[in-house]
Subunit: 115 residues, 2 copies
């Protein structure tokens, strides 16, 4: 029960942020699907699954925020690598501002500001 509640809690928190975390990761270098899932996990508790990632990537592609190219892998099946489009970069920049404002608001209400 504790565990499932924690899961539900963090799931709710992720809403809307995963999308831009993916953009932020792609801003550093191109990555493929499975790699994105791993980076989010190790990057920090942003643990997620492929069932979340692929629909998300499809959406971002549809919205023109990322572009893809197939590449042969050294071993295993081919990979679809993703990169940011100019639209994606703009969206990311905009979100950073939005996030900082939101974060400050929540911190103020919760009393969790960094001093």
């Amino acid at each position: 029960m504790e565990v499932s509640e924690d899961a539900a809690l963090t799931t709710a928190l992720r809403r809307g942020t995963i999308e831009y975390c993916v953009l932020a990761l792609l801003d550093k270098r191109e990555l493929y699907g499975v790699e994105l899932v791993q980076q989010l996990s190790t990057g920090l508790g942003m643990t997620t699954s492929e069932g979340t990632m692929y629909p998300l990537l499809s959406r971002l592609r549809r919205n023109g925020r990322i572009a893809t190219t197939w590449r042969e892998a050294p071993a295993g099946p081919p990979r679809r690598y993703y990169t940011l489009t100019p639209d994606g970069e703009a969206a990311l920049t905009h979100f950073r501002t939005e996030w900082v404002a939101f974060r400050s608001g929540v911190d103020r209400i919760l009393g969790t500001e960094i001093r």
Copy 2:
């Protein structure tokens, strides 16, 4: 388009936080529905509506995190005041920890840490 996108963006961010922001406000003093909506708006851009608030309050009541008492108002219809239960306080405390961890993770990925 800009506006609606911003709205969708912040809507997604609110997910899961509004609930605990309400608990945090009630941790300071008892409040009634409309008052909560106002405090969230002025507290900071956490603008929300009654259509969000009342279902949320019902949920919190069902989960035993808040308790209510009807009070006569100086003028106008009676008000339903909400207070935190011990369960509610515990949930709030737990969320603060969770939030700080989540916030740090997102900050690290986005590069929006405070220095």
